[in-house]
């Protein structure tokens, strides 16, 4: 088990390093460079000055060399300054990370709480009317653009009813205000991600309920509730956890759109703003944090997977 964990951790680090190089290269391919921005801010600068500055900042060196310099600095905790916010990158990132965690975490938990009963209910009566209805709802959830859903919620609850704010975060201190500002973004993100979860739970449950051990459990006289939750649901958790772990990236993509349209100061909006504003340092670190978050999501899903399925002795060479 511990060998499996260390192997997965090493893999995660390798993917993260590969991503950091890729993103570093991509950011370098974005229009302009830091010196161009200085030139646009200072009309007295000559092209000789620009060349000198490029040499000073090492922008004329090959990409691998520049990446190495950045990486060593980054590993020493120096991630550079944000151009837009005039602060160290990490100081800008931390509060945003917290905000995103609140938004994504709430939506995720809500999504699971809604999806599990619905998926199980549908799986217990396949091809029935209720199954059909739940499936239809799940398809609608998968197919709806989250930003349109957000707009509809704004129109309904902000424009027409005037109950909730259309964007931003808590202005006054207090829990109630924070909840009010979170309500619409969380609703939009949850509704757009719950459809997928329902489909995963339903499909896994249907597959599990077909197995022989379910028939055995029922023949033994176990109560239906016990068969459903203890026998079937526990076993269908294995594929569900894996696939939900893999859907963290999708959740982050949804969060980026939700945050941008509700002006919610989270990581997604920060990444978007930094790319649009040519804030190279911030964009780079923001993207890597987003990648790290999704990779950690996958890692936890893998660990949960091995914990849930006693048949899988990962990393060990025991024969089955």
């Amino acid at each position: 088990m511990s060998r499996f964990i260390s192997q997965r951790v090493v893999e995660t680090i390798v993917v993260l390093l590969a991503m950091s190089f890729l993103v570093y290269g991509l950011i370098g391919l974005m229009p302009g460079d830091p010196v161009d921005i200085m030139i646009s801010g200072n009309p007295h600068m000559t092209s000789a000055d620009a060349t000198r500055l490029r040499a000073l900042y090492g922008l004329d060196r090959p990409i691998v060399e520049r990446y190495w310099t950045w990486l060593t600095a980054a590993l020493h905790g120096n991630l550079g300054y944000s151009r837009i916010y005039q602060q160290p990158v990490l100081a800008v990132l931390w509060p945003r990370l917290g905000n995103s965690a609140v938004l994504m975490g709430t939506s995720f938990v809500l999504g699971i709480v809604i999806a599990v009963p619905l998926g199980v209910w549908a799986a217990l009566r396949p091809q029935s009317k209720i199954d059909y209805l739940i499936n239809l709802g799940a398809f609608a959830g998968i197919s709806v653009p989250v930003f349109w859903l957000g707009l509809l919620l704004i129109i309904l609850f902000s424009v027409k009813m005037g109950w909730l704010p259309a964007g931003g975060t808590a202005t006054a201190a207090g829990f109630g205000d924070a909840v009010k500002h979170l309500a619409l973004p969380v609703a939009a993100l949850t509704l757009s991600s719950v459809g997928n979860y329902v489909r995963y739970v339903r499909a896994a449950m249907i597959e599990t309920l077909r197995q022989d051990f379910i028939r055995t459990a029922m023949a033994k006289g176990a109560s239906p509730a016990r068969v459903i939750w203890q026998h079937a649901f526990r076993n269908s958790l294995i594929p569900v956890v894996t696939i939900i772990g893999l859907s963290f990236g999708a959740l982050f993509s949804g969060a980026l759109l939700t945050e941008t349209m509700f002006a919610y100061p989270g990581m997604g909006k920060l990444i978007y703003d930094s790319i649009m504003g040519n804030d190279f340092n911030l964009a780079l670190v923001g993207l890597l944090f987003a990648t790290l978050m999704t990779l950690l999501g996958n890692l936890f899903a893998d660990l949960a997977y091995s914990g849930l399925d006693p048949r899988i002795a990962l990393g060990a060479t025991r024969s089955r």
Partner: protein
């Protein structure tokens, strides 16, 4: 395997086995595609151009002259929706096709050739799957084409936005097909007819393209159909963020950007672009799901894997 006989057994049989929902979806999509293709003709026939500004009739409600009303510049909402359909459908279908080709090529090699190549390709695939796609797409779309070394004539051409978005989406979208094809190729590799072909001295290329690939048609078609909806959502999202198709060319995504700014003035503008994205995406999903059931009823429970 019953899959291949189903695929070759004639489209009539397939049509009979498709659920009514899938047939209805296919029908609506055909109508939408026809309308999108005919949009310039319709525009000429009705004398309504999607770019015609009419400041005396802004925010008009539905009328006989403007079935869906007009927007903030008095442009005809319906004609803009139809031109937007051209964007969404061409990006969705082309990017799905390109993704499928890349995914098939990678999956075939990984699955059939196996070994270290397989291990490497699957690591890359897993890595790409794990990434948050939208932020990555935003960076890819923001890449300066001058720095990539493309000639000026390409960069200045009118359809560069369209090509860029198709390529960028295909670059992250190939993984589903790659995994699917790899898994199936891995199983087929051990089958008798492949062994026989190997024994008779067929080249690896021939075995992959002539013996394995035809057996994978159904799952590839299903996965590609299902991916179109997702791609349309990504295109709409990028255009909504101002990174995809740039105004004044109408796309469903950038129409919603305008609608959000005017949500307090005219909430009705939000309705149609979003509804069309939603309907198109759900139709592709219904169709893909129906095809899956029709081509391989047993695969239904396997979608989780």
């Amino acid at each position: 395997m019953r899959i291949e006989t189903a695929a070759l057994g004639g489209y009539a049989a397939l049509g009979r086995r498709l659920s009514p929902l899938a047939v209805a979806s296919a029908g609506s999509l055909i109508v939408l595609v026809a309308l999108a293709i005919l949009a310039p003709l319709l525009s000429a026939a009705t004398n309504i151009d999607p770019g015609d500004v009419d400041l005396y009739h802004r925010f008009a409600g539905p009328s006989l002259g403007h079935l869906f009303g007009t927007d903030e510049l008095g442009r005809d909402e319906l004609m803009r929706i139809l031109y937007g359909a051209r964007v969404s459908l061409s990006v969705g279908l082309t990017a799905a096709l390109v993704s499928a080709v890349i995914g098939t090529a990678i999956g075939l090699q990984a699955g059939y050739l196996g070994g270290r190549l397989d291990a490497f390709l699957m690591r890359v695939t897993d890595g790409v799957i794990a990434l948050p796609h939208l932020p990555l797409l935003i960076v890819l779309v923001a890449v300066d084409l001058n720095k990539v070394g493309l000639p000026d004539s390409v960069i200045r051409s009118e359809s560069v936005d369209l090509y860029r978005i198709i390529i960028v989406i295909a670059l992250v979208g190939w993984t589903t097909v790659a995994r699917l094809v790899r898994g199936a190729a891995l199983a087929l590799r051990e089958r008798g007819f492949v062994r026989a072909a190997e024994a008779s001295g067929a080249s690896q290329w021939r075995i992959m393209t002539r013996h394995i690939l035809p057996n994978l048609a159904s799952p590839i078609i299903v996965a590609t159909t299902l991916s179109v909806g997702n791609i349309i959502l990504f295109e709409a999202a990028l255009s909504f963020l101002g990174l995809g198709i740039a105004p004044p060319t109408p796309s469903w995504g950038n129409m919603l950007t305008d609608a959000q700014e005017l949500v307090w003035t005219d909430p009705a503008l939000t309705l149609y672009p979003g509804l069309f994205i939603f309907a198109t995406v759900i139709a592709f999903n219904f169709l893909g799901d129906g095809l899956q059931d029709a081509l391989d009823p047993r695969a239904k429970a396997r979608i989780v894997k």
